[in-house]
């Protein structure tokens, strides 16, 4: 157990994953048209579910995690359900154990973002937001949540933010990644209301490779889960470049974008490359009034998990110094996923003042608290 004596600040865990035990949990939040589409509730198709195209299949990653138990095997709730499905047990197993001040819930079913039927995706997303709020956020005062929106339909996303975005327990907008780079004006209506509501955009892997509108992973499909997982950083990098070059942070100077689970060690060379190119090519992006790296430092934040583990652990501190990322990193446990980080072990080589920023002050500034 992490006692307060080992920390000198509070703790905000920026990435906790609640999951549905069963899609039927959403039945109270969905009208019959979507229940029928998803074959849930009274519209279950029974035997036809195993037929190819015989019933709705929720979009999931084709890259199956090859581990024997692809979630923390020490995180199964007492009833034997899936890790991350029991709000009370999670509060005890994670928040109590780590003395967490606030835990930000990022729903683990974001694969609908790249789904081909955007209308269904949007209604599913709204239902998932309401389920998360009712079942989880109301269950413990330490829980906060990001709300999901449909990236393929900004108008519907804006309506969803207008519907629930002012609830104080909602601290960010979980946008998800599709095959439209984040800088495109397609998203600007979402950024406009996000900035007005003081809600950061959160990007978290979920939809990569899962649906027809999924972002490409660099050069082409990965062969393995390991290849897919390692390549996520490339998608983060591509979207950072897009956000800066397309002038999002000139148009929305107070907007924050939090990249969760895309890594951060790549940020330094990305900055160097962007800054160098801007000196030569600034006439192509004349709306950039300062070095690209300055926009990144001002407007973009990065989750710590999965923490990168160089052979010499202190190399990571040097990379943080190279980036100037002391104010940019957000603690994430990623509980209950297999690649999560334990707070008392993952940051052993970090100086105390940096840990205080990562654990508490940076998240406090970056999310809407």
């Amino acid at each position: 157990m992490v006692t307060p004596s080992t920390r000198t600040s509070g703790l905000i865990d920026c990435d906790i994953h609640p999951v549905l035990s069963d899609f039927n949990e959403l039945v109270p939040y969905l009208d019959e048209s979507i229940q029928q589409y998803m074959n849930i509730g009274k519209f279950a198709k029974g035997a036809l579910a195993k037929q190819n195209s015989g019933s709705f299949k929720f979009p999931s990653s084709p890259y199956a995690n090859p581990l024997p138990v692809p979630l923390r095997a020490d995180a199964f709730p007492p009833n034997g359900d899936i890790p991350g499905s029991d709000p009370a047990f999670l509060a005890q197993d994670l928040l109590d154990r780590c003395n967490t001040t606030y835990g930000i819930l990022n729903i683990g079913h974001g694969t609908m973002a790249a789904f081909h039927n955007v209308e269904v995706a949007a209604k599913y997303t709204s239902a998932a937001n309401d389920w998360l709020y009712d079942k989880w956020v109301k269950s413990d005062p330490r829980y906060r949540m990001t709300m999901e929106v449909t990236p393929l339909d900004p108008a519907m996303a804006v309506k969803e933010i207008e519907r629930i975005g002012k609830r104080p327990e909602i601290v960010g907008i979980n946008l998800h990644c599709v095959n439209i780079p984040l800088g495109k004006r397609h998203y600007w209506p979402i950024y406009e209301i996000a900035e007005a509501y003081n809600l950061p955009i959160v990007l978290h892997p979920d939809s990569e490779g899962t649906g027809e509108y999924a972002a490409t992973a660099g050069v082409g499909p990965a062969s393995t889960y390991m290849e897919w997982h390692t390549s996520l950083g490339l998608i983060g990098q591509r979207n950072v470049i897009s956000l800066v070059c397309d002038g999002v942070f000139e148009q929305f100077p107070n907007l924050k974008v939090n990249f969760i689970e895309y890594g951060f060690s790549w940020v330094a060379p990305t900055m160097w490359r962007m800054d160098k190119n801007w000196k030569a090519l600034r006439h192509e992006v004349p709306w950039l009034k300062m070095l690209p790296s300055e926009y990144i430092r001002r407007n973009i934040r990065f989750g710590t998990q999965p923490i990168e583990e160089p052979a010499r652990p202190k190399d990571l501190i040097e990379i943080i110094q190279m980036i100037g990322a002391e104010h940019m990193l957000l603690f994430c446990s990623d509980y209950p996923h297999w690649d999560g980080d334990e707070i008392d072990r993952a940051f052993l080589h970090f100086p105390q003042d940096l840990k205080d920023k990562i654990f508490y002050h940076n998240p406090l500034e970056s999310f809407r608290f």
Partner: protein, 140 residues
Amino acid sequence: MVNTKEKHRLVVCSAEELQEGNRQLIEVNGVEIGLIRAEGIIYAFRNSCPHQGVPMLYGSVVGTMLPSKPHEYVYAHHNEIIRCPLHGWEFNLKTGKAMFSPDVSIKTYEIKEENGEIVLYLDKEPKQVTRKAFSCILSS
């Protein structure tokens, strides 16, 4: 060479040798100085990019985009910008300053056309002066 007031006057070439689009190269006290005429205006600048030292005389003379709102292009400085031939850094020929930062610049020199002659006014006495040959496809 005539020392006038604080500056040292140096005749470089005849005006005919620096007509519109022409370039000339001179070395003074071991420092190369490029000369160019664009839109009727003559410019003189140190022939070395502060970045990686490439000769600026081979740079394209162009206009550029002013700082603007996102997704707007505002063209300006027509033929007042010289771009480094290697990485494309833009320098304002009138001020020497890089477009991306006022803290980065190429040195510019006072230059005048006087009675059919191109004349440099230098801070230091030009003890060694050499006209240098070069071949630039951008020269007319």
